[in-house]
């Protein structure tokens, strides 16, 4: 520890601490523009100059490490002179038009100028003008305002993982820009808006819609992925105007993914359902709540009475709250039915009943960056968990070795030590090889259950798998570690694979022999919470997939658009079409709900209170930030009244908090969670390593801006390059085998359904695979995200003919 003094106050700090960090610790304000605690130190703005005893010239506080006995003065004459002069320089080329600047009122330059600037400028020459750049639909630029602090450049390179902005030119002509006419594509790009200390980079969708002082700021939790990012929702006139991160070091630090930042535009979509609706003779009619609820209850009752309670199926969005999940489960159970599930994008349910507890990521989010060896199985990380990817990037920057097993060779924008790109089916075999190699390396094969040991005997370990196993065991490319901290994680693609259970079991076993932490990376905001409250089939009930394969007479839908949110789009739409009654609790009118019978308008997360449980098992409650739109009601209330209308008992909750208390039954939520989170299996499942995928396999992922009903409707996100028309992507070698060339039309067939799409060659797709993204109307005819698929080249005429036939069949 070093003893120093800042402005006469003594403080002890660690070796290597900079003056600015020491001052921040003491609460002494030092002005700054370029310095940011999460970015590398550039020391270029010179705003933080301070006076240090025995130094002839002022030193930048951000870049100067303290030394024992240092006496620092932040407001001495020399310091103030230096600060004034830097401010003077910064303002000579900065437009002084705060009243029309979108940053006005929340501008660091404005604030610091008031505190540290001189009263007037002596600069009478012409000011520099810099042309604006179009860097995409999310960020507006006003580059004349830029003060060249390079925070944006450093963020995209260091945190985002790819240099997308740069400072071109030199001296006074230097400008921040993307490469000629390119946009900034990082899925974390919005953070540069927060980082920009002036009004050079501003929020494009928000632009000019409000001044900062007109906004009310309310805390909430991000609703799209399972990270549980803390957000601050800015509201004006009962409308969500923008979303910003709320600093939470252990979760989202000070960042936010673009999905969580810009999805709010979907809340204000014209698609919002504002009043209850009932379908009468094929026509939608608006109605009041009482009528709608009675109608829905009557229908559900009639069908369950007429057939059996089993005739009902409930499909629940994993983005709904724990309270909502709990109530719908109770309601369905109350009707004597066990058909309920939130795992809409899963096909393999063989693990049901074999788990000890609720699956989770198996460690804390902030532990990731401290891992030494990481294995990620079946995840397109940046697409699934954009901000979490950044933690892995930090780990890799800190020297961790990353191994990837996936059907997609997507660039995670970090160094990959080992990767194996194979079909979803072959992942099982690769994992078995790793287990075998690992158990040899660790000499722990004895610990494996005999069935597994027997299985491994037939496995032949290939060199690349061996190398991966060695890395996990601690033998590194650069450093060998005796006891590496290992993390093993399964992503969305693994979760929706037909052989998920086997992958999971093998990953568990590998984790066992390598002492790894890890688990699954749950897809949605409340996947973990839904499992915890038991939104899953009862012992005799049907899981999400079975409910579609063997269609039910009636469906109760919570917060989903069936064809877009279920794994098997074709099955989902057929089932809805066939059902006698579909009661949908939804925030949106949508084509995907055309086959519903009753639409009950519910409040999205901003208009209701509730609780999400994150991937790390953190239970986070939030309150409504605005009043529900129109006649919308919080889903927990709707479910309560629906249950009452159905004549069910035990639904007398007056607030979501009461529901929450009921869920945790008086126990402290974190204790409760701690008791239940567990990735272990009660018994081993059967693993088959000899299965070969006979034909082509589909690799379908859900593009990040299509993940759920809200984000799907965010116009600015739709305009980004991620929102592309669906294509069939195939490895060029595979294309050659099928005699395809780029741009050919192909008829893609899966189960009984099909789609006609253009082909694109893509070296990032495993051989034997066809990559077709889901959750889009172009691919509604297709089936599982992962599964058998066939392709057939067709001509434009053939395509037209097929389409004409379809149209005919429809009318």
């Amino acid at each position: 520890m070093l003893k120093i003094e800042i402005d006469g106050k003594a403080v002890e700090v660690d070796h290597g601490t900079t003056i600015i960090d020491a001052a921040d610790k003491l609460g002494v304000a030092i002005p700054r523009f370029c310095y940011h605690k999460k970015l590398s130190v550039a020391a270029n703005c010179r705003m933080c100059l301070v006076d240090v005893e025995k130094f002839g010239k002022p030193l930048p506080a951000c870049a100067t490490p303290v030394a024992e006995g240092m006496k620092i003065f932040t407001r001495s004459k020399a310091a103030v002179e230096a600060q004034n002069s830097v401010m003077d320089f910064l303002l000579i080329n900065h437009p002084l038009d705060c009243p029309i600047c979108d940053q006005g009122g929340e501008c660091d330059l404005q604030d610091i100028a008031v505190g540290y600037g001189a009263s007037g400028s002596r600069y009478t020459e012409e000011k520099r003008v810099v042309f604006n750049k179009n860097i995409g639909p999310l960020i507006s630029t006003d580059m004349t305002r830029c003060i060249q602090c390079t925070r944006c450049v450093r963020f995209l390179k260091e945190v985002g993982g790819m240099q997308e902005l740069g400072m071109v030119g030199r001296g006074e002509h230097a400008e921040i820009t993307a490469y000629v006419d390119q946009s900034v594509n990082s899925e974390l790009s919005g953070n540069i808006i927060d980082l920009c200390p002036v009004g050079a980079l501003t929020n494009k969708p928000f632009r000019y819609s409000a001044r900062s002082w007109e906004l009310t700021r309310r805390p909430s939790i991000a609703p799209h992925d399972s990270l549980g990012s803390h957000i601050e929702v800015h509201v004006k006139d009962n409308k969500v105007m923008r979303v910003l991160p709320r600093e939470k070091e252990s979760i989202n630090e000070c960042w936010l993914s673009d999905r969580d930042r810009f999805s709010y535009e979907g809340l204000n979509s014209p698609d919002r359902l504002k009043v209850p609706m009932i379908k009468h003779h094929g026509e939608w009619q608006e109605t009041d709540w009482k009528t709608a609820l009675e109608y829905a209850a009557g229908q559900l009752k009639d069908i369950t009475n007429e057939h059996s309670s089993d005739a009902l199926g409930a499909l629940v969005s994993p983005n709904s709250t724990m309270e909502e999940g709990y109530l719908i489960k109770e309601l369905v159970h109350g009707l004597g039915c066990g058909n309920i599930d939130y795992r809409l994008r899963q096909t393999d349910f063989r693990l049901d009943g074999k788990r000890v507890g609720t699956p989770w990521m198996g460690c804390n989010i902030d532990e990731i960056e401290k891992l030494d060896r990481i294995l990620i199985i079946g995840s397109n990380l940046r697409n699934e968990h954009p901000l979490l990817a950044q933690r892995f990037r930090k780990a890799v920057d800190n020297g961790a070795e990353l191994s990837i097993i996936s059907p997609l060779d997507n660039n995670p924008l970090m160094d990959i030590a080992h990767k194996i790109i194979v079909t979803p089916n072959d992942i099982v075999n690769v994992l078995a090889q790793i287990l075998k190699a690992m158990s040899k390396l660790q000499k722990l094969s004895l610990c494996l259950p005999p069935t597994l040991s027997a299985l491994l005997e037939q496995i032949h370990v290939r060199p690349n798998t061996e190398a991966m196993a060695e890395s996990l065991a601690g033998l590194g490319r650069n450093v060998n570690l005796i006891a590496p901290r290992v993390g093993i994680f399964l992503g969305n693609m693994a979760l929706s694979a037909p052989r998920f259970t086997e992958m999971y079991s093998l990953a568990e076993a590998i984790g066992g022999v390598s002492g790894a932490k890890g688990g699954i990376l749950p897809a949605a905001a409340n996947s973990t919470g839904m499992h915890l409250v038991g939104v899953m089939p009862s012992a005799t009930g049907m899981h999400a997939r079975a409910m579609l394969e063997v269609p039910r007479k009636a469906y109760l839908l919570l917060n989903i658009e069936p064809e877009l949110d279920c794994q098997h789009a074709a099955l989902a739409s057929a089932a809805m079409k066939k059902a006698d009654c579909v009661v949908a609790l939804t925030a949106y009118k949508s084509k995907a709900l055309d086959n519903a019978t009753v639409l009950l308008p519910i409040a999205p997360f901003t208009e209701t209170s509730g609780t999400f449980m994150s991937m790390e098992g953190r239970i986070q409650s939030f309150k409504a930030v605005v009043k529900p739109l129109g006649e919308c009601r919080p889903a927990w209330k709707v479910l309560r009244v629906l249950a009452n209308t159905l004549g069910l008992q035990g639904f007398d909750f007056d607030s979501s908090e009461e529901v929450k208390d009921k869920i945790f039954d008086g126990e402290k939520p974190s204790d409760y969670a701690w008791r239940h989170l567990n990735n272990n299996m009660k018994e081993l499942v059967e693993i088959e390593t000899k299965i070969k995928s006979p034909g082509l396999q589909r690799v379908g992922e859900v593009p990040q801006y299509e993940a759920d009903p809200i984000v799907r409707r965010s116009e600015p996100l739709r305009k980004t390059k991620y929102n592309i028309k669906r294509l069939v992507r195939i490895h060029p070698d595979e294309m050659r085998l099928h005699e395809l060339i780029e741009g050919d039309l192909v008829l893609v067939k899966q189960d009984k359904g099909s789609a006609i799409l253009p082909v694109r060659s893509d070296t990032h797709v495993a051989m034997g695979c066809v990559r077709v993204a889901a959750a889009h109307e172009d691919t509604l005819g297709l089936g599982d995200l992962m599964g058998d698929i066939s392709i057939e080249k067709i001509s434009q005429e053939q395509a037209d003919a097929i389409k004409a036939n379809e149209m005919e069949a429809l009318s």
């Binding site: 020391a43 010179r46 002839g56 010239k57 830097v86 030199r170 230097a174």
Partner: protein, 444 residues
């Protein structure tokens, strides 16, 4: 041959200076017929010092001590004692350490390193190899100013010769000492003369200086320990080891060991490089350069490149050419780039050109330099355009003071120095320009 076939260029007539009265250390081959050839250098004992150190396994500390005794101070401008700098290099390091030679001379009036490459490239190579041996560096780069393209080619050719002769490369002289040396080039940025900007440039980036600390000795090329010296500094090393540090020190005066290459340009009869003993009276050096041209009178001299203060004739005429001598006289030795101005020189216009240079060459990274150099230039331009105000002189002084000492690298200080010294010594000329809208000197 490994040299670039990229661009062909013709060698123009060399600036052959009169050798009388000079002490040839770094340009010792100039006495010979074919100065740049390996044979010439070998004839003068070339590469023998390297061979001796490497094969006798002479301890690094001995070499460093010899360099310390020599009193050699860095010839790149800052004058930092070379022996001391070498002692900062970490002895043990797991990985490659680097050696960098700074031949990016772009400071106006400086052109000495070019002649070293032209006339004595092998002594530079040997100097670098000795430094590499002493500092344990495995790879070296010589960063050559982009504009002197022919010299880049000459150096590539010399490297090929040295490599073929076994003076650089793997397992030199059958020992386990290996040293790879490469030529790299700038492409038009004065700032790359600053050592950390130069390092960034070697890494293929913009030449934006790094904040120091950390210094290159701990975080240099590719983040590895790196020693940076000027061309002339390295080139002095073989001589120092051949004749002894004391012999080198004895050439000069207290505080300034050795001889030094002075680049003399501007209003003299015979511009060119003169290698003379440190401490030579200015008047003698001026005479060597043929005196002021056209029989005119001396008005002022910038003794070490524009980053050193301008000196009026009275001040420089009594000064000696060494670190202490010039600093006593109110300026500094810098890189030894004497820019001589005769009585017809308009100091206002000269300052405008210099200010334009710093404005154009600021890397743009840090605020005071990026914004301040443009501000200064514009105000001076306003004066030469006839729109100056008396307050402008204080403004110029003030803005320059605000740049100085507050920037990441010394370019900020360098930019302020001419403004402050020109106004200090020639204020009446500036006032006249402001009052009359034209120059006191040429009436235009």
């Amino acid at each position: 041959m490994a040299t670039s076939k990229t661009t062909t260029s013709k060698m123009t007539a060399p600036v052959m200076t009169d050798l009388k009265g000079q002490t040839l250390v770094t340009l010792q081959t100039l006495k010979e017929k074919n100065p740049a050839s390996l044979a010439t250098y070998e004839k003068l004992g070339g590469y023998q010092q390297l061979k001796r150190l490497v094969t006798d396994k002479v301890k690094a500390i001995e070499v460093i001590n010899e360099v310390k005794v020599s009193g050699l101070r860095g010839r790149g401008g800052a004058g930092f004692p070379t022996g001391l700098k070498w002692s900062f290099m970490p002895r043990y390091f797991d990985g490659t350490k680097y050696l960098v030679c700074n031949t990016d001379e772009g400071e106006p009036g400086t052109f000495k390193d070019r002649d070293i490459i032209r006339y004595n490239p092998h002594q530079l190579i040997e100097g670098m190899a000795i430094a590499a041996y002493t500092l344990g560096a495995g790879v070296g780069y010589n960063y050559i100013h982009g504009e002197i393209w022919r010299e880049y080619e000459i150096f590539e050719e010399a490297l090929a010769e040295a490599r073929a002769a076994g003076y650089i490369g793997k397992n030199l002289f059958g020992t386990n000492f290996s040293f790879e040396l490469y030529a790299v080039h700038g492409y038009g940025a004065y700032i790359c003369g600053e050592e950390t900007a130069l390092i960034e440039s070697i890494e293929g980036k913009k030449g934006q200086p790094r904040f120091k600390p950390p210094f290159p000795a701990s975080y240099g090329v590719f983040g590895k320990p790196t020693n940076v010296n000027n061309t002339e500094s390295y080139t002095s090393i073989p001589w120092i080891l051949q004749y002894g540090g004391q012999a080198f020190a004895d050439l000069g005066v207290a505080g300034s060991g050795g001889s030094k290459l002075f680049s003399v340009s501007g209003h003299v009869e015979k511009p060119g490089n003169y290698e003379v003993n440190m401490g030579m009276p200015f008047a003698e050096l001026l005479e060597m350069a043929g005196g002021i041209w056209k029989g005119r009178k001396l008005k002022a001299v910038i003794p070490g490149g524009p980053s050193t203060a301008v000196m009026p004739a009275e001040a420089i005429l009594g000064a000696t050419m060494d670190y202490n001598g010039l600093s006593k006289a109110g300026s500094s030795l810098g890189a030894g780039s004497m820019i001589v101005m005769d009585e017809t020189t308009c100091m206002v216009k000269t300052l405008k050109r210099l200010s334009y240079f710093f404005y154009e060459e600021s890397c743009g990274q840090c605020t005071p330099c990026r914004e301040g150099t443009g501000w200064v230039y514009r105000v001076i331009k306003r004066i030469t355009d006839g729109n100056g105000k008396m307050e402008d002189l204080d403004l110029l002084t003030d803005v320059s003071n605000n740049i100085s000492g507050r920037t990441i690298c010394a370019l900020g200080d360098a930019a302020a120095t001419p403004v402050l010294s020109f106004i200090k010594h020639f204020r009446p000329e500036f006032e006249y320009y402001i009052q009359h809208g034209k120059s006191m000197v040429d009436g235009k």
